[in-house]
């Protein structure tokens, strides 16, 4: 049983399909990169997997112990967050909310979990700082820690390096890679950068007029790659 399996998905807005015939799966510990041009429906696909939107047709199956609404999510920054008065600790802890169930308050166990992830992502000295005063890279690490509080099974990342400088970008990718390898956390990431996809991913989903799903090796041997504007894309450490 795959962790997530999508069969013949048709996605779109107001009944108009923008993407059809999409089939792919992810297994525990995979690193799936979703690539494709702007407007090809990458973010829509991600929202559909998260259950925030429903597909026009087709099915999404969850297996391997994974349930809907049990997915860690790193969204793109919203306008509201840019001047939001909240400490790093408050934000990371809010990732535990789904674990609270009917209990209106966080328990010591949740606080411990939040502290653990703050520590693992090197945010200890920023714990009391205000989110809006952090740099872009620090903010992304805070949101990553929050996502891991929700679950270590699988995380979905929507262009996690948008707006970051090259050095911080490569640090962020290394961090995600480390989480994937050390915790065996499944990663599904939307990226513009084919080079990154090839460097880190185990599987690639290329969506657009001609969609592709397969392992990285299969993708490298496909003719699709040559059509894409690919410029080497190795990332310096």
């Amino acid at each position: 049983m795959h962790q997530i399996e999508c069969n013949n998905l048709v996605l779109g807005y107001d009944g108009k399909p923008i993407l059809s015939g999409l089939s792919f799966f992810v297994d525990k510990g995979n690193y799936l990169c979703i690539v494709g041009e702007n407007g090809s429906g990458k973010s829509t696909l991600m929202k559909t997997i998260l259950g925030l939107k429903s597909p026009l047709s087709g099915e999404i199956k969850f297996g391997d112990g994974l349930k809907v609404k049990q997915i860690g999510y790193l969204p793109q920054q919203t306008e509201i967050q840019k001047d939001f008065p909240a400490s790093v600790y408050e934000i990371v802890l809010s990732g535990c909310l789904s674990k609270c169930g009917l209990n209106p308050f966080y328990t010591a166990k949740h606080k411990e979990l939040a502290n653990k992830h703050i520590n693992e992502l090197g945010l200890d000295n920023l714990k009391k700082r205000c989110y809006r005063e952090l740099s872009g890279g620090q903010q992304q690490r805070v949101l990553l820690a929050r996502a891991l509080c929700a679950t270590e099974e699988i995380i979905l990342l929507d262009e996690p390096v948008a707006g970051l400088d090259p050095k911080v970008t490569s640090q962020m990718y290394n961090l995600i890679d480390k989480i994937n390898k050390s915790k065996h956390t499944t990663v599904i990431m939307i990226s513009h950068d084919i080079g990154v996809a090839i460097k880190y991913a185990t599987h690639i989903l290329h969506i657009g007029k001609q969609s592709f799903f397969g392992t990285k090796e299969e993708y490298l041997n496909s003719d699709l790659l040559n059509k894409f504007d690919f410029k080497g894309g190795e990332i310096s450490e």
Partner: protein, 291 residues
């Protein structure tokens, strides 16, 4: 200095002569606590205008209830305001008419219709009250608020307690859906449910504050303490706590000043809130905390 001591004398005399002034002050403090609690979320969620819109709806609803001759018009005003709160929130989420336009439509519409209804009722002799006096006190707060009846005060306090308790129990959820609705939804917290509860709580606050500060000034109670606190404090919890403290302080001070100098309570309190905001703004700038 003479005028000051005369004002103090007036304050003491008023409290002695009218025991209801104490009720009014207590109710005022409860209202201040409630409105500032939710204010932080409303400001951050860009919902400030919903509070404003609702206060106009409440005005329309109140005139409607008054003309129909309901002895106690609070319940019907509350019901109608909650209905429109839910409606406004729904249209804000997915609508052909965009959120801000919908709010403007409903709020101006109910203001106009409310005034129209009460005017027609006066002409037809259905309504025999003091028209301009009643309209003015509904808009800017009643000068007779210090004569609040005991049962009215109890109703206000009970409703306030509901709001305060709901806020405490839903605090973590409110934080989560305010900071990031998509994440909350994706991890199994139904943001729409909590948005709905928020809308109902806002409606309750608007209705109970209406007699106190008047429907035009309610949003000031909601947004000023939150904005002031956000100038200085940096975590959601400290912003919330400070805005409650500040709001309680400003309301008490404004209320006392209004009795001392015989000014309208609502606008005096808002004036104190504005001064407090200016002070917080300067402190924030000096501390360099808020960019």
């Amino acid at each position: 200095m003479n005028s000051f001591s005369a004002a103090i004398t007036q304050l003491i005399d008023t409290f002695e002569a009218f025991p209801t002034v104490t009720y009014a002050l207590i109710v005022g403090i409860f209202i201040a606590v409630c409105s500032s609690l939710l204010g932080v979320t409303l400001v951050l969620k860009r919902f400030s205008f919903i509070g404003d819109g609702l206060s106009h709806v409440a005005f329309g609803a109140m005139t409607f209830a008054t003309v129909l001759g309901f002895l106690d018009n609070t319940y019907i005003t509350l019901g109608l305001t909650i209905f429109f709160a839910v409606l406004l929130l729904r249209t804000n989420q997915n609508a052909k008419i965009k959120g801000d336009a919908a709010i403007a439509m409903i709020s101006v519409g109910s203001l106009a219709l409310g005034y129209l209804i009460i005017n027609i009722a006066t002409k037809l002799n259905i309504y025999t009250g003091n028209l301009s006096g009643d309209v003015c006190s509904t808009l800017f707060g009643s000068m007779a608020f210090t004569l609040i009846q005991r049962n009215e005060a109890i109703l206000c306090i009970v409703l306030s307690l509901i709001v305060i308790l709901a806020f405490i129990f839903l605090y973590n959820k409110i934080f989560a859906i305010t900071f990031d609705e998509d994440f909350a939804n994706a991890t199994g917290t139904n943001a729409n449910t909590y948005n709905l509860i928020l809308a109902i709580l806002i409606a309750i606050i608007v209705v109970i504050s209406m007699k106190f500060v008047g429907s035009l000034l309610i949003s000031a109670l909601v947004i000023f303490p939150a904005l002031s606190a956000m100038r200085i404090f940096k975590s959601f919890f400290s912003v919330t706590v400070f805005s409650v403290i500040l709001s309680t302080f400003c309301t008490t001070l404004g209320f006392i000043l209004s009795i001392m100098y015989s000014t309208p309570a609502g606008s005096t309190i808002v004036a104190v809130d504005i001064i407090a905001f200016s002070v917080c703004f300067v402190i924030g700038k000096l501390a360099g905390g808020n960019k």
